[in-house]
Symmetry: C2
Subunit: 305 residues, 2 copies
Amino acid sequence: MKFEVTILGSSSATPIYNRNPTAQALNINERLYLIDCGEGTQQQMLKFDVKASRIDHIFISHLHGDHYLGLVGLLSSLHLNGRSKPLKLFGPAPLKEIIDLQFKYSDTTLNYEIEFYPTDPTQPAVILDTNEITVETIPLDHRIACTGFFFKQKKTLRKLIKEKVEALAIPVNYFSLLKRGQNYVAPDGTVYQNDELTIDSSVPKSYAYCSDTLYNQNYFAQIANADLLYHESTFLHNMLDRALQTHHTTAWQAADVALQTGAHQLLIGHFSARYKTLNELLDEARSVFPNTELAIEGKTFTVGA
Amino acid sequence: MKFEVTILGSSSATPIYNRNPTAQALNINERLYLIDCGEGTQQQMLKFDVKASRIDHIFISHLHGDHYLGLVGLLSSLHLNGRSKPLKLFGPAPLKEIIDLQFKYSDTTLNYEIEFYPTDPTQPAVILDTNEITVETIPLDHRIACTGFFFKQKKTLRKLIKEKVEALAIPVNYFSLLKRGQNYVAPDGTVYQNDELTIDSSVPKSYAYCSDTLYNQNYFAQIANADLLYHESTFLHNMLDRALQTHHTTAWQAADVALQTGAHQLLIGHFSARYKTLNELLDEARSVFPNTELAIEGKTFTVGA
């Protein structure tokens, strides 16, 4: 089952050096989820061929402009491009007021419904639970209310071993039970163990998105063993004072989060405009956690690769 | 005296084909003025080397998102990049409420002052009058309150003809009067006509910006004889019905505005996303008004060239 993240923006507060403010598109089994939506996100989606019309869920971490200023433009474009199906939007409560005010003064009535789900920044909560995934908020420690998002795949059904099932002439109405792990009792009373007849088709993967935050152990337990951890890494560790002051994280700290929480792979992003090139940030993180990559524009990462 | 306009965005409602929503930077004698500020304008300024820090005046025509959704990001970046000098902002009254709400929830207190001047969409008004220019609002006919902006250079002082002034040993304290057109009376009573001693150094130029609007003769008299007219041209004339319905203008109509109002040169822009290429729009406008150019991203036009 596909589980990929495409980076649309890697910049912190101000866009520079062709780095755009934060946005990421998740593709989970051909469903698209958008996380954060900095200014220019819809242009980035055009550039990297992420089909905006296919997004049904948008998650906004917090109300600093570099994480949501592209949202009203995107919502408006979806409307103008004929969207009719509802869109689910998760974010801080005042986001609704901000959107409503702008559509009020542009005299816009959307052709589709926005189902808005305000997030609670004080405690983790499952905010979406589908057949395929759950999404939990991760309370982060930033200057204003901010949550990360933890995407977890559910275990999929087991797959039938076609030859075995056919050889035993198992009736079709048993298939659903077999896929769920039941054994098969033949008409002659013989019991066939489930693992003779099916295989476990996948191991569910998880993606933890943590931006923006102070390095803070409060969220470590929740994100334990993520297959892929995205963690903001605004500064080099020689700027720790600045990171503490602005409630951000250094590359060294982001890597330490990955190490402490048992992540399989780390992506770092949300780079300060002071860094024209990113090698030093990557090197610093890799010195602590080698399996680290830069979350830069246009790159797609497979969760659990 | 320099008087140039650089196009930062040429797209109507939705960005597409590398066309960005509307924004233009005017350079008048090395002072920068920004007109409209669609999403991604700050990224476009970086791309085309328009120094945002040098902008002291921003003009917003109306509150459709493709004309202002880049503003809060730009204001925020100016703040983060250390701006301290005030910024003058002209636009529809609710714009202030929209900005204030977003800075409230991002807990941002700007380091510089925004002096906000609400525009009146019902009648023309001079909204800025400096030593060098005046700016008038142009009431337009759109679905929501919308004004264009008419930038007019003032006549500059006459230039002294150095050899004549030196030959007559005219005292320095006369220079200012001569530059303003006075004659010179020598100590022996001889009267020297001003035009023997000075030359008219420049002819003041004008730039009319008209976006978005229905073709409507109400604004024709006001923009008469513009050296450069920018007029929206959202559709080809075979889409006239759609133009009427959405309060926009066709390429044929934009050219007719230029013709009727005696413009020297026409720029057309604000192109619908339905046009992948723009040749047909240009050809249609030129069939009526030959001195027409496409207002496309990164192009700079000299007013009165």
